[in-house]
Amino acid sequence: MEDREIVELYWARSENAIAETGKKYERYCRSIARGLLPNEEDCEECVNDAYLRAWETIPPRRPERLSTYLGKITRNLALDRCRYRGREKRGSGQTPLVLEEIGACVPGPDSDEAMLDRVALTDCFDRFLAALPREKRDIFVRRYWFFSSIQEIASDFGLSEGRVKMILLRARGQLKDALEKEGLWI
């Protein structure tokens, strides 16, 4: 079913909307959740919550790209769950690898300018990505937006895992530099 038709089902308050969303996007949403939530039960709950969130927000929203909309909801829910798990199991060494990797790029603690920083941060991300060659950009987005594993990325790009790790390491260094230059890394 076309995305437009699925969105119409949401607007018509038809429960088929969720069934059709599941048919088309369950794998996609699950792959995003799995990157942060190794526990299958958590993953499943996260994906179901994403459908529910879509149900609650469409209408009034009418997303143009349903895949990205669902992906973003799933991603945020997985991060929320991860935040909760982090608090619950602080110090247990169960932080997902992807969070550990990106940790070195994270600016300082919240300040009065936190909201301003977030907007500026997103613009800085866009500029940083624009300056990366296409393949490196895709690899970076696969890792930190889709939370794809190093193995999946290496396989999809026909590269060794070592090479993917090296590309990500360099790109994280460039991102940190960009954040520092723009005064966003405090």
């Binding site: 143009e64 895949s67 990106i102 300082g108 301003l116 991300f125 987005v141 790009f157 005064g183």
Partner: protein
Amino acid sequence: MNTTDFLSAFGEISETYVETAAATVGKAGKTSPRFRRKMTVLLIAAAVCLCLMGAAAVGALYGDSIQSWFSHQWELVTKRDMSQGQLAVIDHLSQDINISKTVDGVTVTADSATVGDGTFYLLLRVEGVKFSSRYLYDFHDVLMELSPDPRDEGGTFGGYGYQYVGRDGDGAALFLISFNYAGGGDAGKDTSPLQVTLTLKDLFRDAAREKTLQKGEWVFTFTVDRSQPLEAVALPDTRVEITDRNTHEKVQVWLRDIRVTSVGIRFRLDSASGIFTYADGLRLILKNGAEVSRAGGFGTPLENMEAIEYSYQWQFPVDLDEAAYICIGTQRLPLP
């Protein structure tokens, strides 16, 4: 800010990047291993120039100045030679730098710059290595320091990007660096010379197996003149429909203080609390119907958070006498 908040902010990146990366999911299963690498190289080749300046084939041969690079871009987009007016605009904004540094036989020349409102482009030539159209080339690090740094102005944000753009007629590799900034206050009004210190580290060939071609540092110090007067056209405040960054829905917003120049456009976008928007579909339409898209730029939230100051650059400088209107969202803004 903690790591999850940081990654949550990363979730707001441009959808274009998300979609192109999404297209790579499972692509290994769709092609045979033998062809996969080759296709990836072709994809990179197709994307590199699109990323910074629009369509141009990597490995294509350009002339040896920044004017020739922009001429090439003009011809690609408009399918015709540059007019005298267009030539005059690019010449007016361009300046020679012509400083070379050599490390073990590899010479990098900071060739020329094109300077505009809140932006400048710098062309680098690299000689002393046999460059091939089969590969992309890169430096492991490119560091540019500016004095005075426009980003030191309160509320001003800026950044630079660089890209390998192909080879010139002598087989030298060409790199283009672009720097732009935007902000409230006087950020765009300072026309004093910019002292630039540019450091390039380790030239390498980017392919399936990365290969360092020359280790070392090439350090340049030069001045960019920003005093060239720039023709600017002010447009009336306009209400337009664009996409909300958070909800992806269409929203109506006011664009104010619109200022169009031959290198780009600036405007302020009123933003209801908590709503931030893409200036989507922004492009300049020429009288002959050709479209000049935006190459780079960004928005800076102003102090009260009720407006965002945007500054975007065109793919190349344009003679405004040849421009018909600006498109943003579904709206057309005619140029006088």
